[in-house]
């Protein structure tokens, strides 16, 4: 293991160390203990280098070299209203963060929702009723398991808590919108989202991570999700950070019996984006869909690292990740499926497909199946290739010019997996974002189709 640098001493500098004492919940010993432990992990290991298996294909050097300050102390940028091109989910309850700071003025009214529903700023909960998080915080998002989780937990300050009591069906989707906006100095922020659905509860949560054009910033988010028996969560994560930005985010989910975690990650932007997803299918009949799509250009780097743990009988997981790569971009997919001895009757499927738009990009794909049960059905596959000439010819033969044909096929390649997003308004939002991305890449002229 090579330690690049100790994150607390070098990367975030003294400003960070000074700010630490004032974090919400700091006077609560178990919260403080969790942060201390996480920072000890960061301090002890430093930033993981290429010899650490999980970080073999994604280098943190650029982050290590950037002198970040806590983004909440960035004072030379004002965001007075929502930027125009921010993706908005129709009909959703918006909870907005700018540089990791909850913005009451930009958010929707989140008090007084239907009975059995809590939607609160994370810092408020840590301050006023920390005990409500005691059995939750850090239990699935374990700092020891991931550098991304440790960094978030060590510095977590603001975010949101979504808690639904038994059988509550929150009809209105929740949109968590994190906006990065650095000024002259690059800021780092660590939003923390705690989503807890008790038995039989249902919700749709869309996370959007975006940024204003400008300097580099680091968005280091963590979403810790606990689903009780028969609960059902649609969880969509959209990352479209500024082209100079870094994004290290992790989702960790525990799924109890017959509950379903239905998720999609769309990764379109940022200089470096790494999304980690860790799903524990803990109860009999638990099921997860862990799909995703990414689009890369220039020298962008995207990493989707996924672990799906089948820990109980009759659990199901399904994963399709599709990526389109142009320029000299680099895409990484690491997908581990683990089937414990107890998880008889597991059904696990995984597929990664990358479409290369030219000769420049590189794809690293590392699927791993670890199966300790004998009655299982597992399949995984991966393909990387250029556009199918036969497909192009078919479109040409109908009079469609080559540029349009290629655009249709690239869009179709991604839409193929996006079509299976179950929530209609989230699906439309993702389709629109992909269309806009294609237009920005000049793969698709605006209004062309």
């Amino acid at each position: 293991m090579t330690a690049v640098k100790s994150i607390t001493s070098s990367t975030f500098g003294d400003t960070y160390a000074n700010a630490v004492g004032a974090l919400p919940g700091a006077n609560e010993p178990w919260v403080d203990g969790l942060r201390q432990m996480s920072r000890a992990i960061l301090g002890g290991q430093g930033m993981p280098g290429p010899k650490v298996e999980a970080w073999k294909y994604t280098s943190l050097n650029a982050i290590a070299k950037t002198p970040f300050i806590p983004a909440s102390t960035v004072d030379d940028v004002d965001v007075m209203s929502l930027p125009v091109n921010v993706p908005l989910l129709e009909g959703a309850l918006k909870v907005v963060f700018v540089n990791g700071v909850y913005r009451h003025d930009l958010s929707d009214q989140i008090e007084g929702l239907q009975a059995g529903t809590v939607l609160s700023p994370f810092a408020d909960v840590l301050k006023s009723r920390p005990d409500s998080l005691k059995d939750v915080l850090g239990t699935v998002m374990e700092p020891g398991q991931s550098f991304t989780a440790a960094m978030n937990t060590g510095f977590m300050e603001q975010g949101a808590v979504v808690h639904l009591s038994k059988e509550v069906n929150l009809k209105q989707p929740v949109q968590l919108l994190s906006i990065g906006a650095s000024g002259l100095r690059p800021g780092a922020f660590h939003p923390r989202f705690e989503i807890n659905l008790e038995e039989g509860a249902q919700a749709t949560v869309v996370e959007c991570h975006v940024g204003l054009p400008g300097q580099a910033y680091l968005s280091n988010s963590a979403s810790e999700i606990i689903l009780g028996g028969r609960a059902a969560l649609n969880h969509y994560t959209i990352v479209s950070e500024d082209s100079e930005a870094f994004h290290l985010g992790r989702t960790a989910v525990a799924v109890d019996h017959n509950a379903t975690y239905d998720s999609f990650v769309l990764s379109l932007g940022g200089k470096l984006v790494r999304r980690e997803v860790h799903v524990r299918l803990e109860g009999e009949g638990a099921a997860a869909t862990v799909d995703g799509a990414y689009g890369l250009s220039g020298k962008q780097h995207s990493d989707i690292s996924s672990e799906i743990l089948h820990l109980a009988p009759e659990t199901k997981s399904n994963q399709i990740i599709k990526g389109v790569l142009g320029g000299e971009s680099r895409g990484v997919f690491q997908g581990r499926i683990h089937v414990a001895r107890a998880a008889q009757g597991t059904d696990g499927r995984q597929l990664h497909k990358a479409l290369l738009l030219n000769r420049g990009p590189e794809v690293d794909c590392k699927p791993e199946l670890e199966i300790y049960a004998d009655d299982v059905q597992c399949a995984h596959g991966a393909t990387t290739g250029e556009m199918d000439q036969e497909h192009i010819f078919y479109l040409l033969s109908r009079g469609i010019d080559e540029k349009t044909a290629r655009a249709l096929l690239v869009e179709g390649f991604l839409n193929d997996v996006i079509f299976s997003v179950s929530d209609e308004s989230a699906r439309n939002l993702i389709l629109d974002m992909v269309k806009a991305w294609l237009a920005r890449q000049r793969i698709l002229a605006v209004g062309e189709l």
Partner: protein, 252 residues
């Protein structure tokens, strides 16, 4: 001058000569049928006419409406009015059939200097065409050909043709995979498109199709050559006797 004039066409694939001198003139309003054993070059001819890459034209020419067809790109040919109903239509994941149809239709309209089709007008057009071909309307919301049955794919090809109204349509085994009722529906669809300024080249193995779409001329393609041409009775003869006698003469 005929609408399509194929003269001494020789085509090779990977250095192997597949078409060995095809001569064929087709006039406006005519239906020509090509029959022949497997692997004799029928699809090759259809692909060459549609402009697919990978074929080396070593000799000969094809004129379409007086223009050198072989010099045109595949999409130009299509916009000029050439259409190929594929023997094996491609499945295109993620591209809704309706999006594809609209894009193709608008490409043609742009070529003709027309505006893009209005959404309502497009919807109505599709509704009437799908009804005519007994295609469930829901199908056009699905990704193009993905998961369509063999017969559904063939119907979808004819739907495209009827939407794009080509001047010269090549149907490569459009009857294969169709059940008896579907064969009738699809044939009616084709017959409805027959007109004095539209020419069809119908490739088939079965006389049955030709009893619905009655050809003006029937050609037998064996070993990369047209070894015999005649009227519709030739198809009946072939159905009864097979290709043996032509293959013998080819070998000789």
């Amino acid at each position: 001058m005929s609408l399509i004039e194929i003269k001494d066409l020789h085509v090779s694939v990977d250095g192997k000569e597949i078409l060995k001198g095809i001569d064929l003139n087709m006039d406006g309003g005519e239906v020509h049928a090509i029959m022949g054993p497997n692997g004799t070059g029928k699809s090759t001819l259809s692909y060459v006419l549609a402009g697919r890459d990978g074929y080396e034209i070593t000799q000969g020419s094809v004129l379409f409406n007086g223009k050198n067809l072989l010099e045109m790109e595949a999409d130009e040919r299509a916009r000029a009015g050439v259409f190929l109903a594929f023997q094996y239509p491609m499945e295109i994941p993620g591209v809704a059939t309706s999006t594809f149809l609209k894009t193709a239709l608008n490409a043609k309209r742009r070529e003709q200097g027309l505006e893009e089709i209005d959404a309502m007008e497009f919807l109505n057009l599709i509704k009437s065409k799908t009804k005519e071909l007994e295609i469930p309307y829901e199908m056009i919301k699905r990704p193009l050909n993905v998961g369509f049955s063999g017969g559904e794919k063939k119907r979808a090809e004819v739907l495209q043709m009827s939407l794009l109204e080509p001047r010269f349509a090549v149907l490569d085994e459009t009857d294969s995979g169709l059940d008896i009722d579907a064969l009738k529906v699809v044939s009616d669809g084709v017959n409805n498109l027959r007109s004095p300024d539209r020419t069809f080249l119908v490739i088939t193995h079965y006389q049955r199709l030709l009893s619905y779409i009655v050809p003006d001329h029937v050609h037998v393609l064996v070993g990369g050559r047209i070894v015999k041409s005649g009227d519709k009775t030739l198809a009946e003869l072939l159905e009864a006797e097979g290709y043996a006698r032509f293959e013998e003469s080819e070998a000789a």
